[in-house]
């Protein structure tokens, strides 16, 4: 299992990147793709530099960020199924984005992450506060489901007020999609992801002590509540930044930490953190290729692909963990 993972992750990154650059219309062979990328005079240059490359870059960045968000939440809440998709963080971002899209509010794409972040933080805070100290995966799932359902109710209520065109756009968004994302989107999220990743690296040592229990961590000199709040905020920042440009891409954040723990052969947060970035990136990049190509030329939203692959994998991971 570990050997397979170790070879699969770099392989997935390389194959995903190549597929992202070469496949589509027109299909290029790898050499031609690299040449087109480097030569501004090549007819495919613009397509690659402005179309396929930013999309692949976004998939890598977003996947890595989601993995880190999931790891922080799982360790800090000591719950194997904690993830932004089950903690209402994604649905909170969705409500805000739905309102912006459907009600036609004039929010520029650069500011969208801020708006989505506010929604994500409110919903996430709601779930984490009501959760209290529970470690039961069932209870977390139910509380997350409750907040998600309430947010879903709000989204549909907003949709009920929109036109068909808006609704289609929103629907695409709600599933998570990387279609037609360009450098603007990459630039919009890059600072958020950078800040979030650095903060996660700085928090990792403290988060690791929290996995031993609140009182042990307090005995080691860790400010328990502050660490937990900070970690949840950082996870929400990462998830919301991704959600604001790609929509709530489900199950990458939940699944990537489980795979990364196997890959790193450890549960120590600091070491898993290093592994979870490439794992998340490879997951999302490959899922996006599947979404792009499986019924070409129609694109499946990448969130559908990650859900259909992620859930069975997650069930397996949780079962073998016990």
């Amino acid at each position: 299992m570990i050997v397979i993972l170790k070879t699969t992750v770099p392989l997935g990154l390389v194959v995903g990147l190549l597929a992202g650059l070469c496949l589509g219309r027109p299909v290029l062979d790898p050499v031609a793709a690299v040449r087109a990328l480097l030569d501004p005079a090549d007819p495919a240059h613009v397509l690659l530099v402005e179309g396929r490359l930013p999309r692949a870059v976004l998939a890598v960045g977003a996947g890595g960020a989601l993995g880190v968000a999931g790891l922080l939440l799982q360790d800090v809440l000591r719950n194997p199924i904690a993830g932004p998709e089950l903690l209402g963080v994604s649905s909170g971002a969705a409500v805000v984005t739905a309102a912006v899209v459907v009600l036609g509010l004039a929010v520029p794409v650069v500011l969208l992450p801020y708006a989505a972040l506010a929604g994500a933080l409110v919903a996430g805070a709601l779930v984490v506060l009501t959760m209290g100290r529970t470690r039961s995966p069932d209870h977390v799932a139910l509380i997350g489901a409750a907040v998600s359902a309430a947010c879903g109710g709000l989204v549909v209520a907003v949709v009920g007020l929109g036109t068909q065109g808006n609704v289609v756009v929103l629907f695409r968004y709600l599933l998570g999609s990387l279609a037609a994302r360009g450098w603007t989107h990459v630039e919009a999220v890059a600072p958020w992801l950078l800040v979030g990743l650095v903060a996660a690296a700085l928090l990792a040592r403290r988060v690791e002590t929290l996995t031993l229990g609140d009182e042990v961590a307090a005995g080691l000199g860790v400010a328990v509540t502050r660490t937990r709040v900070l970690a949840v905020v950082v996870a929400a920042v990462l998830a919301a930044a991704v959600a604001s440009v790609c929509g709530p891409v489900a199950f990458v954040a939940l699944l990537a930490p489980h795979l990364a723990r196997r890959l790193a052969r450890t549960v120590a947060t600091r070491r898993v953190l290093v592994a979870v970035v490439p794992v998340g990136a490879a997951l999302l990049l490959c899922a996006d290729q599947v979404a792009r190509l499986v019924i070409y030329p129609v694109e499946v939203p990448v969130g559908v692909a990650t859900t259909l692959v992620g859930v069975p994998a997650l069930v397996l991971a949780l079962r073998s963990r016990a």
């Binding site: 069932d138 109710g153 007020l161 629907f171 559908v304 259909l308």
Partner: protein, 335 residues
Amino acid sequence: MRAALRRPAGLSALGAVALLAGAVIVLAHLLTGRSSIPSAEVVAALLGRASEPAYTVVVLDHRLPRVLVGLAAGALLAVAGVLVQAVVRNPLAEPSTTGVGAGAALAVVATLVLAPDLGQGGAYVASLVGALATGAVLWAVGRRSFAVTGVLLGAVLAAVTSLLLVVDSAPLGTVLRWLVGSLNARTPTDWALLWPWLALLPVAWALASRLNAWSLGEAAAVGLGLRPGPLLAVVLLVAVACAAAAVAAAGAVAFVGLVAPHIGRLLVGADHRVLVPVAAALGALLLSLADLVAFSVSVQVPGLATDVSGVPVGAVTALIGAPVLVSLVRREQRA
């Protein structure tokens, strides 16, 4: 208070209050709408003597089916909740938390998109098949941890539903409403297809004393002479059928199956012989009341031309039910 309500006098008082509330909600539904009709004319239309044929159409073909479908679907959802909760001995199980509602909704949407010729009757069959299949998967994979499995199952089903919509996004608005649950624009046909399923309610009631025995634990139930296998099969079948009928009529409305039994337990305790009818009545009232709220909100929004759009009742039940679910979880946590 609970003890007082369990006595026959208390129960009849409760019944009277429920009837009164039901009457008020039905009247409110019949009297409000996009077009204003004098209340005398509404009554006349019900008796078949309205002065204008348009009044008869609005009252009998639009307003009446909507409130009747709401009442019936609410009762069915509540009873489905009571039965499932009894089987898994967990007050948090219901169609939306187990994924069964999503399964039924997926099947309905699939028939709407792939085989529109089957019509509304086909939706019922599809809903039943979808609910049964989801229930079976849930039972096989994760009945011990039904919530995690149910939530994950719900996510997969939602993804499959969206795949259908990727193929054909035209019915998107309709489909979203199925997924959340809506009573907008119900017709007499809907009511005609739904009411025979109400026969499931007395069946559920007849199972009540066995559910009481089962709630003492498997060993105790066997000691009392129950055969767990057949009992669970029948109860789950009835529960899934109740949920499927409600979903086929109103879509995957969340949390009615959770909130109604919960209030019922607060009022009359956990004896299923009393709880089943009380929860059914509460579910009926709750869903039609939530629909009244949804409708009143929609009417306030200008520019919504048809009855089809507007806030779906599922959005309202989700917003009401979410805090109840959270408080129930917290209570169980403390226990």
